[in-house]
């Protein structure tokens, strides 16, 4: 299981951190400082793996950015190297030839993509298409949300309600709204993923071999 992933620049500035084990902030800072220093001190042709405490560090540099993962003793170094690469590919595809600035200004997106790809330190979905589809759906959903449920109306309604309408009425109204909402969403969902069928087909094909 991956214990954490750090993205930092050649200048040693941390750009992204993801921790899959509970650690105190102090400990996280200490680890980050130590690792950034260790990795930056290494020369370009050196190998991408090193032993550190009782963990294995796998890192790779992409342009000005270092991607550094800590994995456990029994984990596979090479596949972790490719996890890094796949993540870079995902970022690249999403932002369109990604650069450090994209990650700085859209750090939240970088997190969302990472969460779709890795969860709890394990690969969740390794298909590039599927990860990006999930992210794009979420992006569409944002626009959809903005379009469907105009929040000013909602909030004024809520203010009004809490003032003088009985709460039961409010509840009913909300319920109605949310079911409508959900149904519309799932309709959109189906419409948005025509590949869904092909996917299951290919799964079946795999089984027959």
């Amino acid at each position: 299981m991956m214990q954490f992933m750090l993205l930092f620049s050649r200048q040693g500035k941390l750009r992204l951190q993801k921790w899959y084990v509970p650690l105190s902030d102090k400990e996280k800072k200490k680890i980050t400082r130590e690792l950034v220093q260790t990795v930056l001190a290494r020369k370009p042709k050196m190998c991408s793996f090193l032993e550190w405490r009782d963990l294995k560090i796998v890192y790779k540099r992409y342009a000005s950015l270092y991607f550094c993962c800590a994995i456990e003793d029994q984990d596979n170094e090479l596949i972790t190297l490719e996890i890094i690469h796949r993540y870079v590919e995902l970022l690249d595809k999403y932002f369109g030839s990604v650069c450090e600035l994209d990650i700085i200004f859209n750090f939240e997106k970088a997190y969302f993509i990472l969460d779709e790809f890795l969860l709890g330190g394990e690969a969740q979905e390794t298909s590039k298409k599927n990860v990006l589809k999930a992210i794009e759906q979420a992006d569409l959903l944002q626009e959809l949300c903005a379009f469907l449920s105009p929040s000013p109306v909602m909030s004024t309604l809520m203010c009004l309600c809490t003032d003088w309408l009985p709460s039961l009425l409010l509840l009913l109204l909300l319920l109605l709204l949310s079911t409508l909402h959900a149904e519309l969403l799932s309709a959109w969902h189906l419409f948005l993923c025509p590949e869904h069928l092909t996917l299951s087909l290919f799964g079946g094909g795999g089984q027959s071999t």
């Binding site: 042709k45 596949i79 969460d115 390794t126 949300c145 959900a182 094909g205 795999g206 089984q207």
Partner: protein, 962 residues
């Protein structure tokens, strides 16, 4: 600005980030951040309700500030508000904030959990995934309490979307890791295993991580996953590179899933089902074959993914350790990688080979790569790769290549990185000791080690070389010669001076014949280093000097001169001053005889596990496979420890023990506990004795001060048994060899063996003094009814035991019928005119005549029931006298002589044993059951024997043992 800004960008956030990036100095940045924090605080506290967008923007800014490395202690409430919003963008940012900045405020957790609960039940897959991601990211105990039962349901429900299943599987894994007690196995477990068959590759990829973790903890419950995993793997491995569409990565089909499948299989032994096993072997062979095929792409991603699977497959092959063919193929493959131009591959190949070297099937194959590995050690530019090479050399070392490997490691040490020197030194020291065929090589190696890397040679290493030189008389002369030569170097390391001082002090006489190393030359050489050394080394040298006075009387005047000078006798260091004063006094008043006794050659050290090994283990931690392996080999391989037959206390004892070889494990155990004259550095205690002996007062008076001897009446009648005789007896119930008795004069060692109803016991009487024992005689008697139960015959011993010598006596014992008393051994001798008289109990107990009996559970309980008469059973409940460690208990029960039966008692905590006592007249069947209660620190011991007196006696004897 970013190339794309998908979703709704937050202008305020982008502006803030630009501002920060434009800051010229750290101070300006901090100023800007503080300004922003103040702004956000006031917005959050303000009366005006913030709209969702602003809240989101500010929470994002807080996140950004946190990621810059600043502490954030507010905003959690606003984040929770956001995640309860049903606007997706707000919810998403709320969840992100909570995931990154977890806060253990319980009120907050309650609110978060509420929001998560709503989202989980929303039936909206996107919301469900967000909630699951949050649980997986935070994974706190509170969350486990709230959702541990809910998530398995989501995972196995038929109508759950695939993407939700994936998140649920990994979310559950996280909860299981943090709070395994809250994730209860249930009806869902079997359905989880079947996710391995899921049509959606993503679901399998996610679920397999969960299954792997669960099957590590409950292998039996998940056993079915083996065949499922094998068939899934086989389908992937045999698929064409395009079959799996987007799960194919640079022409490699599903590399992540393949690795995870191979990893899962490593939780289990090789499949028992022949068909499954055949299929798996086929897979592994295909993977090995593919490694030989030309690459389908020049991209490094292609080869990485392919090799990731290959290395995982090799790990599985090593884990099984049962397919010689595959092991050798794996080794050859790794051998190719050793010379690959990719540094990463060389590193991994060295690492994998380390584990391969410990398999008996592939050890030889690994050894063929020795030249490449040595080359790697010399030429690799990356220290982490060199470290791997050194590890591998250590792992592949055996008798055949030890000299070469040790030489290479030594030469590498001269240039090795400081970070790994100490570990290298330990490894060299261990290999040199373990594979030493001739000891001169060993001594050379260690002295070289000190010369090359003296600063990194820890105490353990130089202690060890001295222990070995002292214990092996064939190497002492060589050692003295070599250290003498090594000390000639103008600058030699302090550790070398220590070893040199010690060895010349002990064995300098062995090279004193040569005029080039005459006593005085030796002394001058040592003393020339004296002033450059630290206090402990100087102390050691002073002890070496006093030993010189004994070895070479001609140096006495010179040395006394040195001791007498102010820098010694008035040294500001108390230890040095005391030594100088005492040694000076000792050298002037003691007679040569007394000096010879006090400054006698050190007795051999007790054999024990090399302290170096222990140190390396501590340094390396659990990763060091080769170290444990080394330990296993130690008994057969430890030539140096072959001296284990030797007793540590007197050299005479050692000689006689060596002539009657025996499994000496027990001996060693006790010996190390026996008092041992330590290095000359602790000569203080010796001095006390010497002065009292050397004084004009009657020596016997001085000796009679000793508590024990004065209590023994100086009469010709056998003394009453010692008060501690029973304790001594109890010590030997579960073992046959050891030191029976020891005081300042005499040591009695015992070694015994029993077969059927007969036994033979060897008694070793060692004279610990330098004065002969006169009129030495021993008698063995069987008091009372024992006479008719036990027949003990002894041969008379020689009447004189010379000083420092040891004599042996053999007793033949025959058990006629069962007995409960112990025979008595009376020893009389004259020491300096005073009669010594003592009586001991000989450790002959009824259990010595046990024959172990193996039986199955049914037999045991059938017999147990047959012995159901009340007098046949003896039971005792008693408090534990010693620790309740399982291994120790087992060893004791085995030592008792009965067979220890596994899988008989339904309670695995309990021990049951069975055996038959062989006497001349009859056989007595005995069954034993010992029930420990660790909580109360109590035992219940039950014995059932076909003869009631035996039950009682065994029960008495055993109750003292645990």
């Amino acid at each position: 600005m970013p190339a794309v800004s998908k979703g709704d960008g937050m202008r305020g956030l982008a502006v803030f980030i630009s501002d920060i990036r434009n800051c010229k100095s750290k101070e300006a940045e901090i100023k800007r951040i503080n300004k922003e924090l103040a702004n956000i605080r006031s917005k959050f506290k303000g009366d005006k309700a913030l709209d969702g967008y602003s809240k989101k923007k500010y929470v994002c800014k807080l996140l950004f500030i946190f990621l810059l490395g600043h502490d954030i202690d507010f905003g959690h409430m606003e984040a929770v508000n956001l995640l309860s919003s049903n606007k997706y963008t707000e919810k998403q940012i709320g969840y992100l904030f909570i995931s990154v900045l977890v806060n253990s405020n319980s009120e907050l957790i309650r609110l978060i959990n509420n929001a998560i609960k709503n989202d989980l039940s929303s039936r909206n897959p996107t919301f469900m995934c967000l909630a699951l991601h949050c649980i997986a990211n935070v994974g706190s105990r509170e969350m486990a309490e709230a959702f541990a039962s809910e998530i398995p349901r989501i995972l196995v429900a038929g109508d759950t979307m695939d993407s939700v299943k994936q998140s649920a599987a990994l979310c559950l894994l996280r909860l299981y890791k943090t709070s395994p007690d809250l994730v209860l196995m249930g009806e869902w477990t079997s359905r989880v295993v079947h996710l391995l068959n899921d049509q959606h590759m993503g679901v399998v990829t996610a679920a397999i991580s969960l299954i792997t973790c669960l099957s590590q903890k409950n292998p039996d419950e998940f056993k079915t996953c083996v065949s499922l995993a094998v068939s899934r793997l086989s389908r992937i491995v045999s698929s064409a590179s395009t079959d799996l569409q987007d799960y194919t990565y640079y022409f490699v089909p599903a590399p992540w899933l393949s690795c995870k499948l191979l990893r899962l299989l490593q939780c289990y032994p090789p499949p028992e089902d022949g068909a499954v096993k055949g299929r798996l072997v086929e897979c592994l062979e295909t993977i090995l074959n593919k490694a030989q095929e030309p690459p389908k792409s020049k991209k490094v991603q292609h080869s990485n993914a392919k090799n990731a699977i290959l290395f995982e497959a090799i790990s599985l092959i090593i884990h099984y350790d049962s397919e010689p063919n595959l092991l050798v193929r794996a080794c050859n493959q790794l051998g190719q990688f050793l010379q690959h131009r990719e540094t990463n591959l060389r590193y991994l190949a060295l690492e994998s080979m380390c584990t391969l070297a410990s398999s008996e099937f592939s050890h030889e194959a690994v050894k063929t790569h020795i030249e490449t590995v040595i080359n790697a050690l010399k030429t690799e530019r990356d220290v982490s790769v060199r470290q791997r090479a050194a590890d591998l050399l250590y792992a592949m070392c055996d008798r055949s290549n030890a000299k070469q490997i040790v030489a290479e490691m030594l030469s590498y040490l001269e240039t090795a990185d400081y970070s790994i020197r100490e570990e290298m030194v330990l490894k060299v020291a261990i290999l040199a000791e373990k594979y030493a065929i001739d000891y001169s090589w060993y001594v050379d190696t260690i002295l070289n080690l000190i010369r090359i890397a003296g600063d990194y040679v820890s105490e353990e290493v130089w202690y060890r070389v001295i222990q070995i030189v002292i214990n092996r008389d064939d190497v002492q002369g060589y050692a003295a010669k070599t250290v003498f030569e090594a000390l000639q170097a103008p600058a030699c390391h302090e550790n070398m001076v220590k070893v040199g001082g010690y060895i010349l002090g002990e064995f300098g006489n062995l090279i004193a014949g040569d005029p080039r190393s005459s006593p005085l030359v030796q002394f001058n050489l040592l003393h020339s280093k004296f002033h450059l050394c630290s206090v402990p080394t100087r102390a050691l040298l002073l002890s070496a000097y006093i030993k010189f006075i004994n070895l070479f009387p001609e140096t006495k005047a010179t040395i006394q001169e040195v001791l007498r000078c102010d820098s010694q006798i008035r040294n500001s260091d108390v230890e040095l001053q005391q030594r100088a004063v005492e040694y000076l006094k000792l050298s002037s008043i003691a007679s040569t005889d007394v000096l010879a006794t006090v400054l006698e050659e050190m007795p051999p050290f007790p054999e024990r596990e090399s302290s170096i090994l222990a140190k390396l283990k501590k340094k390396k931690g659990p990763g060091a496979v080769s170290v444990t392996d080394l330990e296993d080999n130690k008994r057969e391989g430890g030539e140096l420890n072959g001296g284990g037959d030797r007793g540590p206390d007197t050299s005479a004892m050692a000689a006689s023990n060596a002539s009657t070889p025996s499994p000496s494990a027990d001996l060693l155990g006790i010996r190390s506990a026996a008092p041992i004259g330590a290095a000359p550095t602790s000569a203080g205690s010796l001095l006390v004795d010497v002065f009292s002996e050397a004084g004009p007062a009657a020596p016997s008076a001085a000796v009679n001060d000793d508590g024990f001897l004065s209590s023994a009446p100086p009469s010709e009648d056998p003394a009453a048994p010692l008060s501690e005789a029973d304790d001594l007896l109890n010590k030997f119930v579960c073992k046959n060899n050891g030191v029976l008795f020891e005081n300042q004069l005499l040591q009695i060692g015992i070694k015994s063996e029993y077969r059927q109803n007969l036994g033979r016991m060897y008694l070793f009487y060692g004279n610990k003094t330098s004065v002969p024992f006169a009129s030495f005689s021993t008698t063995v008697s069987c008091p009372g009814e024992l006479q008719s139960q036990l027949n003990v015959q002894s041969k008379p011993v020689e009447p004189v035991v010379e000083g420092g010598a040891q004599i042996q006596q053999v007793l033949n014992i025959e058990c006629l019928t069962d007995f409960s008393e112990a025979p008595l051994l009376n020893i009389k001798f004259r020491y300096g005119g005073a009669l010594q008289n003592l009586t001991l109990k000989l450790p002959v107990t009824i259990n010595k005549f046990f024959q172990p009996t193996e039986m199955a559970s049914n037999d045991f309980f059938q017999r147990w029931k047959q012995l159901s008469q009340p007098q046949q059973e003896a039971q005792k409940i008693f408090k534990a006298n010693h620790g309740m460690d399982t291994e120790v208990l087992k060893a004791k029960l085995l030592g008792l002589g009965m067979a220890l039966l596994d899988n008989v008692d339904p309670n695995p905590e309990n021990y049951v044993c069975a055996g038959v006592i062989q006497t001349k007249g009859q056989q007595v069947g005995c069954l034993l059951r010992l029930e420990p209660n660790a909580q109360a620190q109590m035992y219940r011991l039950t014995l059932r024997c076909s003869k009631d007196s035996v039950s009682r006696r065994l029960c008495e004897l055993l109750a003292e043992q645990f």
